[in-house]
């Protein structure tokens, strides 16, 4: 007699993250329920740490919010500070990028829940922000603005007024629209409330940071906890969630976008009118007291960084983004270690997915804001 053996099926899936990267997810499923999920990473590994170690400090760049930590670390080693205006411009651009990133996460949560219409509206908004970043730094996705000791250039004339006008008129209207159509949607709530819950203790144990940690109920934001640049001069609130489920993570991100608008509006009022974007005297050579960091001389010669080591972290949209640098006194980093938030969030994926339904995978992974490129570095 042949006896049928029932066993759980194993599915091999390719998980696309919101930003476009991939990782492989091997699932063991019992019908609908996930018994075990194993992420396999490394498909978008490009060795950014090694690239940074093999390039002079000035050429080592990455996306704006990520670059920020590296720039801060180099500045700390050099013991310099940017001018006030440059610092304000940095924060302004960082917050614009934060809005862009949170928007991407929010619409991909909606897409995971089955409604892809918001992502088209989100794309239009992102397009507008990219236009602003392009005007500020010359390139769209990666606002090529941050430099050690300041920014690439002053903002072009009238740009800040345009940003304010757009934020007040169109963007807040867009957020209200999303709130109306999505936040209160019964089906959307059904798909997200109580799904992928991460308790506060677990979140801390798994090394969560950023919006995901705050959604679980911990009050921790590097912009408040260890303010860098001019965050201590700005008045903003830290939204925290209560339940740590997908819906909390969604709400925290929505609230943070409004706070970012708040921050940008304050920056526009407080920003001083000096145009000096100057490196500190320790770096500038004798005949070049006002070295703009994009000058060709600076790139050719580069600068040496005093020996030492430091860790600097910023509140990137997805969490704590840290750069650890060891300098041996040359113009290149001896060792660079980059701490990405998505890597810590990804290690929680097997635990969070366990016991959920396969339809919820997309909602959970996009609500954690995991980016394959960030995980693999």
């Amino acid at each position: 007699m042949v006896r049928a053996v029932l066993k759980n099926s194993t599915l091999n899936t390719m998980q696309q993250t919101a930003g476009g990267g991939f990782f492989r997810l091997v699932l063991e499923v019992d019908g609908e329920n996930i018994l075990k999920a194993t992420p396999h990473i490394g498909f978008s590994h490009f060795g950014i740490e090694k690239l940074i170690e093999n390039k002079s400090y000035i050429n080592a760049v990455s996306l704006l919010n990520q670059e920020y930590a590296l720039v801060l670390a180099i500045e700390k080693l050099l013991k310099i500070k940017p001018s006030k205006r440059a610092a304000y411009i940095r924060v302004l651009l960082a917050e614009l990028s934060r809005i862009m990133s949170h928007l991407q996460t929010v619409v991909s949560i909606a897409e995971g829940a089955g409604n892809s219409t918001p992502s088209y509206y989100g794309a239009a908004v992102q397009e507008k922000i990219m236009e602003f970043l392009e005007l500020a730094g010359g390139s769209r996705l990666h606002a090529n603005c941050l430099r050690v000791g300041g920014v690439y250039n002053d903002l072009s004339y009238g740009l800040m007024e345009d940003i304010v006008k757009w934020l007040k008129k169109d963007f807040l209207c867009f957020l209200d629209n999303i709130d109306e159509k999505l936040t209160e949607d019964r089906i959307f709530k059904q798909r997200t409330v109580g799904i992928g819950t991460v308790s506060s203790e677990n979140a801390i144990e798994w090394g969560f940071s950023g919006a995901n940690l705050r959604a679980s109920g911990s009050l921790w934001d590097l912009r408040k906890a260890q303010p860098y640049d001019v965050y201590d001069e700005l008045d903003f609130e830290i939204p925290i969630g209560k339940y740590g489920d997908c819906y909390s993570r969604y709400l925290v991100r929505m609230a943070e976008m409004r706070q970012s608008v708040n921050i940008i509006l304050q920056i526009i009022e407080k920003i001083p009118e000096d145009f000096m974007i100057i490196l500190d005297d320790t770096v500038a050579t004798d005949n070049e007291k006002t070295v703009l960091s994009h000058s060709s001389k600076n790139i050719d010669e580069d600068y040496n960084v005093p020996a030492g080591q430091c860790y600097e972290s910023t509140e990137a949209p997805s969490g704590e983004f840290g750069a650890y640098l060891v300098s041996d006194g040359s113009n290149r980093a001896y060792r660079c270690k980059i701490r990405t938030p998505s890597f810590a969030h990804l290690q929680a994926v097997p635990h969070v997915l366990k016991g959920n339904k396969i339809e919820d995978i997309n909602t959970i992974i996009s609500s954690l804001g995991i980016e394959a490129g960030e995980v693999d570095r």
Binding site: Q16, A113, G114, T117, E359
Partner: protein
């Protein structure tokens, strides 16, 4: 004679589906602020058809090859066959059989069975998952939808579809049977795969559902079957609940308009709602969806059938 009628029906369906694909794209693009390709986007369906024809046909390796090749055709046929009994005007129907409603119900079930077989013949876990999902979901709503049809049959006293339409001369059944109309409409959304009552494509596992292994011509058949199905469901709703080809009021002006146009208008209204739900809603999760069907719709439909039957009996005999 019958052959030429069938050819006319098929070509009409083909033309209507192409138009539907075009209109659907246009509307969804309008809702999502997308730009349309050149020449008003007219070349897009043609380009798609071209691309699909020249796709490589990929067949499964197992013993299911023949079934895999035949099933899309059967699936398509099971849906097109329903059109044989749909009357678009007084006497304009391929076969006005006296058990038209029964034939429809049978065909609905047949196409569901074919989905399971497609999932099996695809010889792939993902297709099987998709097929099981789709079928479990459709079956959950199928019974309540059939009960909705039973209500209509009780009220009209006939299974011939043209009789059902003529019985609605005084009042369309969507008014007295409004809850059943809603139930049947949701069933139509399930069958035509429109949100919020559809299978959620969780990105990778069930993307493409049961048709995931199909390429080229096989996929064309399945995709076409879906659009013909959309047309069919809107036509069935029109016949059962919206008074078929009858104008809404017996006004001179309305009577001037040919009744086929009325039928088309009612169908278009249903189709518009189908299309707009595609853009407007998130999707229910599978288990909620099935629970919704079994635990809410089915008991409610049963109660409504008993009530409708009781009312008809009392009003016919005059006794309580």
């Amino acid at each position: 004679m019958i052959i030429s009628e069938i050819i006319i029906l098929l070509s009409a369906l083909f033309a209507a589906s192409v138009l539907l694909i075009y209109v659907e794209r246009k509307l969804i693009a309008a809702v999502r602020l997308k730009k349309i390709a050149r020449v008003y986007g007219l070349m897009q369906p043609i380009a798609d058809a071209f691309k699909l024809f020249f796709n490589e046909t990929i067949l499964p390796r197992g013993k299911t090859q023949v079934a895999f090749m035949l099933l899309p055709v059967l699936f398509f046929t099971s849906i097109v066959a329903c059109w044989a009994v749909i009357p678009v005007d007084e006497g304009v129907v391929l076969a006005d059989i006296n058990a038209g409603a029964l034939f429809l119900v049978a065909m609905f079930f047949l196409s569901i069975c074919l989905i399971v077989v497609i999932g099996w013949a695809s010889d792939s876990k993902y297709a099987m998952f998709g097929a099981l999902h789709s079928v479990a979901m459709m079956v959950a709503y199928e019974l309540s939808a059939m009960l909705a049809i039973v209500c209509v049959l009780i009220s009209s006293g006939s299974m011939r579809l043209s009789d059902i339409v003529n019985a609605q001369a005084e009042m369309w059944y969507c008014l007295p049977h409004f809850p059943m109309f809603v139930v049947f409409f949701i069933y139509a959304l399930v069958r035509t795969n429109c949100p919020p009552f559809r299978m959620s494509e969780s990105g990778n596992i069930s993307d493409g559902e049961y048709s995931i292994e199909y390429t080229s011509v096989g996929y064309i058949f399945i995709a076409f079957a879906r659009y013909v199905n959309m047309l069919l469901m809107s036509a069935v709703i029109t016949v059962f609940f919206l008074g078929g080809w009858l104008p809404p009021f017996e006004v001179e002006l309305f009577l001037l308009i040919p009744s086929v146009i009325w039928f088309g208008l009612k169908m278009s209204l249903c189709l518009l709602i189908f299309i707009f739900t595609k853009t407007a809603f998130p999707i229910y999760r599978y288990d909620n969806l099935v629970q919704f069907g079994w635990k809410m719709f089915l008991p409610f439909s049963l109660v409504w059938v008993i009530a409708a039957a009781g009312y008809t009996l009392v009003s016919a005999t005059g006794k309580f």
